[in-house]
Subunit: 88 residues, 2 copies
């Protein structure tokens, strides 16, 4: 079924303790090439029927109002997933 | 700074209770166009210096071994973020 992907990340000016912990663990394990890690969320909204501009607009509203906390998070992307849904 | 994005989602065959809760809430609020919601994670790994094939390979290894739990999650994408970092 068609899927809309919503990506939410913690605001850049806020500390991300979980991300900091992962960055520290990577450094201890020898992966010093990664300077920083931030952890956000990725939502997949499955849509019944085709994705229209109205569906995308509804998804954008939901992303701002319900899927993210605007005090601490930014919605960085709302887009249709590629047909197969998976890419590597 | 250049950034590698890692996307992790719960495996399709597993229940995602948080996603189910969001889907239920959306339906109660009148957003019946969304049949299902699944919630995964999105990591941003900041790289010092340019992103090489070796950096991407290291990120893929880290994604499989440390950023995801292979019993319940799939790494669906490891890719370089677009230059500005943000898109809507």
């Amino acid at each position: 079924m068609p899927t809309i992907v919503v990506e939410v990340m913690p605001k850049a000016e806020l500390l991300d303790p979980a991300g900091k912990a992962v960055a520290g663990a990577l450094a201890r394990l020898g992966h010093t090439e990664f300077a920083n890690v931030r952890i956000g969320k990725r939502f997949e909204l499955t849509v019944e029927g085709p994705i229209t501009e109205a569906t995308l607009a509804a998804a954008r509203t939901i992303a701002e109002e319900m899927l993210s906390n605007q005090v601490i998070e930014d919605v960085i992307s709302v887009h249709e997933a590629p047909a197969s849904g998976a890419s590597a």
